[in-house]
Symmetry: C2
Subunit: 418 residues, 2 copies
Amino acid sequence: MSIKDDVLRIAVITRDASRKAAVLPTPVKEKILRDAAAKLRERRAFLQAENRIDVDAARSNGLSAAMIDRLTLSDKVIDQTAAGMEEIAAFPDPVGEIVHMWNRPNGMKVGRMRIPLGVIGIIYESRPNVTADAASLCLKAGNGVVLRGGSEAINSNLAIVSLFKEALRENGAPEDIVNLIPVTDREAVLHMLSLEEYIDLIIPRGGEDLIRFVAGNSRIPVIKHYKGVCHLYVDRWADLDMAVKLTINAKVQRPGVCNSLETLLVHRDVADRFLPMVAEKLTEEKVELRGCSRSRERVNSMRPATEDDWYAEYLDLILAVKVVDDIDEAIRHIATYGSLHTETIVTKDYDAAQKFLREVNSSSVIVNASTRMSDGYVYGLGAEIGISTTKIHSYGPMGVEDLTTTKFIVLGDGQIRE
Amino acid sequence: MSIKDDVLRIAVITRDASRKAAVLPTPVKEKILRDAAAKLRERRAFLQAENRIDVDAARSNGLSAAMIDRLTLSDKVIDQTAAGMEEIAAFPDPVGEIVHMWNRPNGMKVGRMRIPLGVIGIIYESRPNVTADAASLCLKAGNGVVLRGGSEAINSNLAIVSLFKEALRENGAPEDIVNLIPVTDREAVLHMLSLEEYIDLIIPRGGEDLIRFVAGNSRIPVIKHYKGVCHLYVDRWADLDMAVKLTINAKVQRPGVCNSLETLLVHRDVADRFLPMVAEKLTEEKVELRGCSRSRERVNSMRPATEDDWYAEYLDLILAVKVVDDIDEAIRHIATYGSLHTETIVTKDYDAAQKFLREVNSSSVIVNASTRMSDGYVYGLGAEIGISTTKIHSYGPMGVEDLTTTKFIVLGDGQIRE
């Protein structure tokens, strides 16, 4: 069987199973998720043996320590993953929710009812726990899922999927609701991306290269974000102590993630006081500062920033710093150099807060909190399936609801078009 | 200047102007729309002179009477278009609406605020009134719009856009919020579809060929529907007089549109009574019937239906008819042959109505009303920008709200990630 046929066959059987997934009763979906979580815990010896094959191969292939860390199914990772699945089981079921219903002058009632998208394709890299998270979220929203993980994690992924399929079967649901494409060639991804008749949405999770490859080759809608160039703007009327605290948290608490801070914008009227304060703390935290000329007048240990620094997603202990004339310049800077991810204003001024909320159209716009708060869990969406910085369908952190759509339902009593 | 440069230039200036469109106050947007409507009415001599150039060219090129009818800006079309714009002006402004806001345990408030998508690309065929409708809906939702109409209507479209630009300028808004690509080569469409950095969403309006061409070549998300194979299922517990009335309306009232009826499904227990009743009326209305073998046992004047008939969108006075064993067979038939557009059940039975509403996942699912009711105006969405049978972003008739997305807004008082 060719790779193309293999991928097509998997998509077709997942599509068929997804029709059943769409009408699974809520308690059955919850039980499948709890059972699959229990299997992860109870069968950890099996999981870890399969995982060891992947980890050993990664070692002999000379993968980095960070990659091997992401690949490893430690006890802690297994317990967290299982707990995450139980949390998803406990969420409200979005399917069948009537979002809104209204009356029409002709006596018809018209409403919108939440339904599954159908089949979701997830394309991801080395973390095998994504297999369990993504399958759980897709099932919760009544979807089928076609998973395509990285070649490094193939044995771990197959093991997790086999446990998930057991839980489906034991609860009388079709095991093909969850499938993994076992072919690890990139060719398999290309075939997958062409199957618009069978897969409704593609969510890539991984580095920018993977995401660009997927977006550049897909015939199916893709929800994605490339990077997070997040800004924090210290307004003229900021509480400067709070501004220091938020800057440090946003930059230092976990610099390698997409909602960490990359550029600090400071109103010129507070630059004299604020910049030395924050620079001292940032330097203590080993953060390298790259400033515009007006920033360097205040803190002359800063290296000069170039145009490239305003676009940079460092994902590291480096911060670009710019003094701006006013909030309008801050908003323009964000519109020009930002990535539509997350921006914070620190201010005590009502008008400035309102203006920032209204005029900055990034996917998360925050007043007086760290950019690191931009996250599905923190927002209360439950587990996060991904984040979108494209405005179609979803914008910002995506939870279970983002794996659904709404259909129109109409309750009539004989209405016709005149 | 090459076609490519020309299209790129238009996209870039529209993008820039869209930033201003996003923050235009509601009353200004309303005034622009009312002023543009007034200009359409008052400057009809100019519009009709430009339109005559297109109509004359169409005549010499031998276009069909139906095409020329769609192309003509009669007094009636101009008045209806202007009235439509005034209606859009009077809609509530979706921009800035806070859809939902909730509290988090850490004291943060998190909400979702409706914002414009950015720049919408509309690709359409011969009706010049689409120019005015689409520009009005896009502006109402705070978007810029790049229009690309058919070559047959180029002079009419340019004339309408020039009046719209006047109304923008006179109200202090950038005239580049609305632009028309004046190049009528298909190459211009291809360039437009590659500009994902500048255009956020493409909506094609026209025949299946145009839509397939757009969907097959776009790097930008496309919202579309190819066709409407709509079903009406007469349940065992239907009011048969109502079922006749709805069948006639759905098939005959305007057979050339996508929400007209194409396949009639009849429960076997009512087939003996219902099929002769409905066949008599349909035959009076000159509808040709193509039936399954069980239908033809009841009405032997029917031609036999082939497999192709179940897939057919006739857009004509032809109807496929099938007798089914039960509601499950009806639902399976719709899932297999349908186009996810609109399906109706006629029933007095509560359980059957609930089952049909829950298990049929077409974009409109109707109980006891004609499939022709599936329409943005009839549903109360206001003017319709299009209809989607793909589930991403929008599903079903699309109104002004579907030209927006939501961003997350967060109101904090110093929250950081621990």
